[in-house]
């Protein structure tokens, strides 16, 4: 058991290391003039050249990589080219905002989609099922930004029920904090509901068709109890893992949504750093996000193992 968890963590580390490589070398396909990006177009040429020198941009890429990794390992994510501030100082507040949004999205998503999945499974082939699966997946295929503009137009502008920007108001009441996040969160939910619901449905159906469920029914156990005790218990296990895997889509979705709602989260920061080629910022944010995703997935796996005796035993010897 412990051995498995350790192995899993080690794998995660390897993955992350590869991530760093991918990220760093992708961003170094083209070096670009870093100093110019810092000082902007109207700076003196001389200044630009000397700054490039100072920043060591003329060193071989590989040394730059090792230095970067070294920094990251010592918790130094580098310095933003645009703001000349520690990346961490900019990134982490942004991440916290994104986290709030993501959290709200998940709080709405998980119960809804799992319920949806269960309902669909229990009414397999019936209209309710079709609506949930096809409707859900169709919604999932529509990019967040499209949902965003639609929701903004309808609920923000036509009926002006919700604010169309999600500027955080510190010190506002809890509701005051959540209210502006509802529209953006709904965009994310719309895009994720389909997947999670479908996975849940698949899990439930598999469990429904399983021999052990038949056994339970043939034992004369009331349907509700069969579903509660025998079906869901087995069905929802895999769902955990899958929901975790969806986090990466969620993060992807944040970018577009945060832009439309001008929400100062990770997505907005990423967009800015892409536009202005603020590579240290870019690398750091991608790396951090990847780390978060990997971590969540590892946790999910571990939970999955712990909850699932069959696998638990398999891995423990």
């Amino acid at each position: 058991m412990a051995r498995y968890i350790i192995r899993r963590l080690l794998l995660a580390v390897v993955t992350l290391w590869l991530v760093t490589a991918v990220v760093f070398f992708t961003t170094h396909i083209l070096p670009g003039n870093v100093a110019l990006r810092i000082l902007g177009p109207f700076a003196q040429r001389s200044a630009i050249d000397s700054l490039n020198e100072e920043l060591g941009m003329n060193r071989p890429v590989f040394t730059q990589y090792t230095d970067w990794i070294g920094g990251v390992l010592h918790g130094d994510l580098g310095t933003s080219l645009k703001y000349n501030q520690p990346v961490a100082k900019i990134l982490f507040p942004a991440l916290v905002y994104s986290l709030k949004l993501a959290a709200l999205a998940f709080v709405l998503l998980v119960p809804l989609s799992i319920l949806g999945g269960i309902v669909a499974a229990l009414n397999r082939g019936k209209i309710a099922d079709r609506i949930i699966t096809i409707g859900g997946l169709s919604a999932a295929m529509v990019p967040e930004f499209v949902w965003a503009v639609i929701l903004v137009l309808v609920f923000g502008i036509q009926f002006s029920l919700f604010p169309v920007t999600a500027i955080p108001k510190d010190g506002a009441s809890v509701f005051g904090q959540i209210y502006p996040l509802i529209l953006p969160a709904i965009c994310l939910v719309l895009v994720l509901f389909g997947y999670v619901a479908r996975i849940t449905r698949a899990g439930v159906i598999e469990a429904l068709d399983a021999d052990y469920t038949r056994t339970a029914v043939l034992k004369g156990i009331p349907r509700q109890q069969v579903i509660r005790k025998h079906v869901l218990r087995n069905a929802l296990l895999p769902t955990i893992a899958v929901i975790a895997s969806q986090i990466s889509y969620l993060v992807g979705g944040l970018v577009a949504v945060e832009i439309i709602f001008n929400y100062p989260g990770f997505g907005l920061a990423l967009r800015t750093s892409v536009t202005y080629r603020d590579f240290p910022m870019l690398q750091a944010s991608v790396l951090v996000v990847a780390a978060i995703i990997v971590l969540v997935q590892v946790l999910a796996d571990i939970i999955f193992i712990i909850l699932n005796p069959r696998i638990r035993q398999k891995v423990s010897n």
Binding site: G32, N33, L36, R37, I38, L39, G40, P41, F42, A43, Q44, R45, S46, A47, S50, L51, K82, Y83, N84, Q85, I90, P93, A94, G156, P163, V164, T165, I167, P168, K169, G171, A172, S173, G176, I259, I260, F261, N262, P264, L268, A269, T272, V274, T275, Y276, R277
Partner: protein, 500 residues
């Protein structure tokens, strides 16, 4: 907090009064997000200078009527040939840290900017005009600048137009973003690069008439003017410094006032004069003749702009000679010129620039306009500053953005003169250089106007650069808010503002 304050505003509504409402303690401003480190050396955009201008104070302030308001400097005077300028420093000014301001601080500020090591953005503006040696403290409240060359508009150059030049404490060294130290009407309370900046009023501000009426000014950053407008509509902002025309036009006039300012902010479309397809000036003229400028101003700026006549001598400048004939669209003439130049059936060319809403639009307009005379333009509009990195100074056709200046010297000096380091058009004309020098050296209005006429005519003839329009700034403010000022440069001044 927001809700408490909004309830206050409604409270005010019920009892309308012209008296500054003591109840309203918070001013909520939407402003452009600074896109690089905010600080005296580094700032190079509207967002940043907006902050500089509120926390800091300049020698003098260049306002929308192209006049200078004395600030840290009480008064200034030049010698006969305007090579030596003497500034009288105001007494009784203190920095946010309580330190008193005198001539030494002014001198140190200039020396800092002139020091190569600091890589100040202001260095460019001062280059060729002032050197460290030329900055001298006469007495505790007098500073003397000895210039390399006669410069009539020197006060403008050291005014808020060179927005980096806020007066700093002599011993200041630290990272400015940590304290935003200056002697302006506002003291930084909190700052986050992504979200915004909050100021509290500076109780010891030197000018009682400009003592802020609000306890706090909360500035929220926006990347798109549009989303700031929605906040304005939602009553979550009292004013937005600058919004794009379409966004502005969407605001209900009964709740909001649009403050329009003629500015010199413009886009320069440079045409390579020394080689390539635009070497022949007839071709350059032809190109310029394809643009339907009034339509562009209507279409792109919803009318919020002044006609450009292919020179930096904007109509808004007092010195500009309005009699010079305005270039208008004339395809027939353009085709003729093309034929004369031997390129009757046109050619292909790539237009280089960087991504920005107005540039995207103008680029596309140019593309379709040039097409009319057979010039096929390929747009190569790159993200970020790639343009300035490579294409800017060595492209046949490109768009470069220029910020507002109270006087045209910077443009003339750096973009048009043979020696200019931003001369993307590679334009070399002794006649022009002479005219430009004449304009810049003289402090005499008549002479300047005369020089301006020459410049306008030369440039209209040579057309090294197409200048289609000069944009206006649009500042939407709630009808309840009065006295909120912005400048073409991008400063916003809430010191005198009150909510009624």
């Amino acid at each position: 907090s927001s809700d408490s304050n909004s309830s206050d505003t409604t409270a005010v509504d019920t009892t309308p009064s012209t008296e500054p409402s003591v109840a309203v303690t918070l001013l909520r401003v939407g402003m452009n997000k600074p896109l690089q480190e905010v600080g005296p050396y580094t700032t190079a955009d509207q967002g940043g200078l907006g902050i500089l201008g509120n926390a800091g104070e300049y020698l003098c302030f260049s306002n929308n009527s192209f006049e200078l308001e004395p600030r840290v400097a009480e008064s200034w005077a030049a010698n006969s040939d305007s090579t030596v300028w003497t500034f009288k420093i105001r007494q009784g000014i203190t920095f946010h840290n309580g330190q008193a301001l005198d001539a030494e601080d002014v001198v140190q500020t200039f020396l800092k900017h002139l020091d190569e090591a600091n890589k100040s953005q202001a260095a460019g503006a001062l280059s060729g005009i002032l050197q460290a040696a030329g900055v001298k403290k006469v007495d505790d409240y007098t500073v003397e600048f000895t210039l390399d060359a006669p410069t009539g508009g020197f006060p403008f150059i050291v005014s808020s137009d060179t927005y980096n030049l806020i007066i700093l404490p002599r011993d200041w060294t630290s990272n400015w973003t940590s304290d935003f130290i200056g002697c302006g009407p506002w003291i930084m309370e909190s700052y986050s690069v992504e979200e915004g900046v909050t100021f509290k009023r500076n109780p010891n501000y030197w000018d009682p008439t400009r003592q802020p009426a609000f306890e706090t000014m909360e500035c929220t950053f926006f990347t798109s003017g549009a989303s700031s407008v929605t906040q304005l509509l939602a009553g979550e902002l009292d004013a937005v410094t600058f919004v794009d025309p379409t966004a502005a036009t969407s605001l209900p006039t009964d709740q909001f006032t649009l403050q329009i300012a003629n500015t010199i902010t413009h886009l320069q479309v440079h045409l390579g004069c020394d080689a390539g397809v635009f070497k022949d000036k007839r071709v350059r003229q032809a190109a310029a003749l394809t643009l339907d400028r009034p339509a562009i101003i209507d279409g792109l700026l919803q009318g919020y702009g002044d006609l450009g006549n292919d020179s930096p001598m904007a109509p808004a400048y007092a010195t500009t000679d309005q009699s010079v004939e305005q270039r208008v669209k004339d395809i027939a003439k353009a085709k003729e010129l093309m034929a004369d130049a031997g390129v009757a059936d046109g050619f292909d060319v790539t237009l280089e620039s960087f991504k920005r809403d107005d540039i995207d639009l103008l680029g596309q307009v140019i593309q379709s306009s040039f097409k009319e005379i057979g010039i096929n333009v390929t747009l190569n509009i790159t993200e970020g500053f790639g343009y300035y990195d490579q294409a800017w100074l060595n492209s046949e056709l490109g768009i470069t953005d220029y910020g507002h200046r109270g006087i045209p010297n910077v443009y003339l000096n750096r973009a048009y003169k043979s020696t200019g380091d931003w001369n993307a058009a590679h334009y070399k004309s002794p006649a022009f250089d002479a005219a430009a020098d004449k304009f810049m050296t003289s402090a005499d209005f008549a002479v300047q106007q005369e020089a301006s006429k020459e410049i306008q005519e030369i440039l209209l003839e040579d057309t090294p650069i197409i200048t289609p329009y000069f944009a206006n700034t649009i500042t939407p403010v709630s009808n309840k808010l009065v006295g909120f000022r912005t400048t073409g440069m991008g400063h916003f001044d809430a010191a005198g503002a009150v909510i009624i």
